[in-house]
Assembly symmetry: C2
Homo-oligomer: 181 residues x 2
């Protein structure tokens, strides 16, 4: 393992409501110096939930994604609130986004998004033994619920509407965990 670069200086650059940016002055172990920029990671992390009903159907949502300015098909997900565990956040998001709670929740793994310029991570949670339960969320409009057979994830992973790298990774991590039993 190489010796980590030394952080010579961290300089806050810009800050908007959601995004705080900092410059990092680095000296690599070979002496090379570089200035990088990254988004500052705030908050308590996020969760993404692979929820399976008793017939092994994935519970997907169709929601408006502002970054792409279009509707996308993805997995239920959201930020972890202060004081919540990732499993609690997963169960709350499920109730807000798809109208089900889960009696069985287990962590699969933590994923990062774009580690070269942001430290944001998301905990992928497998949820089963679903029961109807709705909590009020902060969505501007109700999300559309779409079910998809777990047996057909190879097709979902190539679906134009389902293009989020972390969500595709989450599907395969869930399948692998279930197959290992």
């Amino acid at each position: 393992m190489p010796r980590k670069p030394e952080i010579l200086k961290l300089t806050p650059t810009t800050e908007s409501r959601l995004f705080q940016v900092e410059a990092m002055d680095l000296r690599f172990s070979n002496g090379a110096e570089r200035r990088f920029e990254r988004l500052v990671t705030r908050g308590h992390g996020a969760v993404m939930v692979v929820a399976l009903d008793d017939a092994d159907n994935l519970q997907l949502i169709r929601e408006y994604a502002a970054g792409l300015d279009r509707y996308v098909l993805t997995l239920p997900k959201g930020l972890i609130d202060a004081g919540e565990t990732p499993l609690e956040a997963a169960n709350r998001e499920l109730q807000e986004e798809i109208g089900f709670g889960a009696r069985t929740l287990e962590p699969l793994r933590q994923l990062c998004s774009a580690p070269n310029y942001m430290g944001h991570t998301i905990d992928v949670i497998l949820a089963r033994d679903l029961y109807p339960s709705r909590l009020e969320g902060d969505e501007p409009e109700p999300l559309e619920l779409v079910t998809w057979p777990l047996a057909r994830i190879d097709e979902l992973a190539m679906n134009e509407e389902f293009s989020e790298g972390r969500a595709i990774a989450a599907l395969y991590l869930a399948r692998q965990r279930l197959a290992s039993r």
Copy 2:
């Protein structure tokens, strides 16, 4: 498919060297109005390369990721330059990052990262028929090359060092493409 929200106004908020932020005032089809923020997507996109040698070993890199402030194991990747196709960018990045070119390059699919607040996309490319060829890149230090058998991707997908969602998705997309032949 729901009717897309109307964009009432886009307002630039902050701009650093790498990150430009804009506020989006939206009116959803049910009348709900919200202000979102997103990163503005600039440039020509990016590529991520699943490169396989003739013995079906994946070519991975270990590089410093500033967002996480640690070394990570990941796939070769980089920005597409002006005037380049994604396949050309993939072949250039391979030569810069691992010291190999590829005689066979094929697109697998385009992935997004965090579509709720950024429009950034990455084209995943499968590269085979490798040959030694090195191009000078802009890396501050040489990247470590790590090979990993394609047959063991389930293990790689759970490796602590290999945590990028898009890279895990890319592995399974490549395996699926190769298995379908």
